[in-house]
């Protein structure tokens, strides 16, 4: 694998680490399989790109994109809580609707951002080679996001959210409004996802309406893979596992595709992902079976 491919894997892994942190909140903390991300990721990209070509500065554009992602999360929460639609279906409905919304926002299927001032430009001006600028900035953003989530999950609302996901009946018996926790959790998760989309588009040099396809599987690969490799009960370790899972997934993918010997090409990305996720899902099962056998 070339250095260029390796750097690419790291920066893509870091960009998607934000989606993975969001998926940790929904899948792991809230026990709410949220498929909204398939729409909120390109939503973040679309909003940021449209604003940037309209002359808005890249940081403001990224922040507004993040806020738009929160709204997408609220939409799914509304479908699930008020219209009583199954959580997984509620997310799919929002994601499907967002496809059209994103086309409306951009007025066309994609917007190019090449040669535009992005959030990465100031880093390059500091003297960081343009190849590494995204890695530096994304690493800082991901670390901040990870620490903020760790801190959040230790607050009154954060503990309430964990209880709402782990034991809704107990949560309600302790005065926690489970529905409100779902709204907050989906809001944060999709905000992070949209921010990831905005940052990814600026890195890629384009926002595309179809860039959300498979985001959920990538996020799952990071969360499930990361936590399977680093099993822990502690929140800071679990969020770290999600971030590392996201990076390792990209490296594993790059390795699998670069070793020409196996004869895999870029078009095989999805099947490789599916295999990686399947292995990650199977690992904890195999481990507990092994522990049981030892116990006998």
């Amino acid at each position: 694998m070339s250095l260029y491919a390796f750097t690419g894997a790291i920066e893509t892994g870091l960009a998607f680490a934000l989606v993975a942190l969001g998926a940790y909140l929904t899948f792991k903390v809230l026990d709410f399989p949220d498929l909204t991300v398939e729409g909120s990721f390109p939503l973040g990209a679309s909003v940021a790109a449209k604003l940037m070509v309209s002359g808005v500065d890249p940081w403001t554009a990224t922040l507004i994109a993040t806020f738009a992602g929160c709204l997408a999360g609220f939409a799914t929460a509304f479908l699930n809580l008020k219209l009583r639609i199954l959580h997984i279906l509620a997310g799919i409905l929002t994601a499907i609707a967002l496809y059209s919304v994103n086309l409306r926002i951009m007025d066309r299927p994609n917007i190019g951002l090449i040669n535009m001032t992005t959030v990465y430009t100031p880093i390059e001006r500091l003297g960081v080679p343009s190849l590494y600028a995204p890695v530096v900035l994304l690493a800082i953003i991901v670390v901040i996001a990870k620490i903020l989530i760790d801190l959040f999950l230790g607050t009154g609302v954060g503990l309430a959210m964990r209880a709402a996901g782990a034991n809704p009946r107990m949560a309600q018996a302790n005065g926690i409004r489970v529905g409100r926790m779902i709204v907050i959790g989906l809001g944060i998760a999709n905000g992070l996802t949209a921010m990831s989309g905005a940052l990814f588009a600026q890195m890629l040099g384009a926002a595309d309406v179809s860039m959300g396809i498979g985001v959920i599987v990538v996020a799952l690969a990071a969360v499930i893979g990361g936590t399977a490799l680093m099993p822990s009960r502690l929140v800071p370790m679990l969020t770290l596992a999600c971030v590392l899972g996201s990076i390792l997934y990209r490296i594993a993918l790059a390795l699998a595709l670069s070793t020409g010997a196996i004869g895999l090409t870029a078009s095989d990305v999805n099947v490789v992902t599916a295999v990686l996720v399947a292995i990650a899902l199977w690992l904890p099962v195999r481990r507990s079976a092994f522990v049981k056998r030892l116990g006998r």
Partner: protein, 265 residues
């Protein structure tokens, strides 16, 4: 304290399985009273408790707590004035969270939750104080996951959680039924001492006639969704388990299919 008026609920209304789980139940519970509720399976004991907790909505009637009509309040809102313990030792706690995290969740039951750290030195101090009363050594294991605790220890923790904050009413849903006899005895004694110490109005559903008479100040018996017995004071003090069963049969005028259940110790 609690006033239940004309309370009724029908399950599966209009189907072949229609079941009048509770019918025209009226009861007034004074502040500080500790009521035990007995009855055979399907008598409506748990239904009554779930209606008080807000997990079920009644078909008829209303529930007042401190003269406030709480009938339409959802569980989470009702939980700000009442607390509960469940039969399943896993139901009242979060297994994957630590003892102190569980207590921090419970200690915010009556207050709004904010974005400040939940586990403050104040919460920690109160947790140690209250856990020490149990004499189970849990005060030294604050960081342990609750999954590591036995059923009896979990229910003892759940008891602390339920009585930590200000609570007007404590609802106990056969909270010792899933424990081994020694643990059941321990949890029941702890419950009794905590309830007495803080003078909490308590409604305890139990399958054990002995427990029903030994603890609390008043006993009601439900049968087919109605209160058929309500004993208090001297009448209750001199009541034996055998008498209670006899009384039940006379009042009801029928044989109970499962004496075994009524006589369980």
């Amino acid at each position: 304290m609690i006033r239940v008026e004309n309370l009724g609920i029908v399950f599966n209304q209009g189907t072949a399985l229609e079941n009048r789980a509770l019918h025209n139940v009226n009861i007034a519970i004074a502040a500080g009273e500790f009521i035990s509720v007995i009855g055979s399976n399907g008598a409506g004991k748990s239904t009554l408790l779930n209606l008080l907790a807000g997990e079920l909505q009644p078909g008829t009637g209303r529930i007042l707590i401190d003269d406030t009509d709480v009938t339409s309040w959802p569980v989470s809102r009702r939980s700000t004035i009442l607390s509960r313990m469940f039969q399943d030792p896993r139901a009242g706690i979060c297994e994957d969270m630590s003892i102190i995290e569980n207590i921090a969740i419970a200690s915010a039951r009556t207050a709004p939750r904010g974005f400040r750290f939940a586990i403050t030195s104040e919460v920690r101090r109160r947790a140690i104080d209250r856990l020490a009363i149990l004499k189970l050594g849990l005060e030294g294991r604050l960081q342990d996951r609750v999954a590591l605790l036995s059923g009896g220890q979990r229910q003892a923790l759940a008891l602390v959680m339920a009585t930590l904050g200000p609570t007007k009413v404590l609802l106990l849903d056969e909270h010792t039924a899933a424990l081994d006899p020694a643990a059941a005895e321990l949890v029941m004694k702890l419950t009794d001492s905590v309830v007495k110490k803080f003078g909490i109005t308590t409604v305890m559903v139990t399958h054990s006639m002995r427990q029903a008479l030994e603890f609390g100040s008043r006993t009601i018996m439900l049968h087919q969704g109605q209160i058929i017995l309500d004993i208090i004071g001297k009448e209750r003090a001199s009541m034996t388990i055998e008498e209670l069963v006899r009384l039940f049969r006379r009042k009801e005028g029928t044989e109970i299919a499962d004496d075994q259940l009524l006589l369980t110790q």
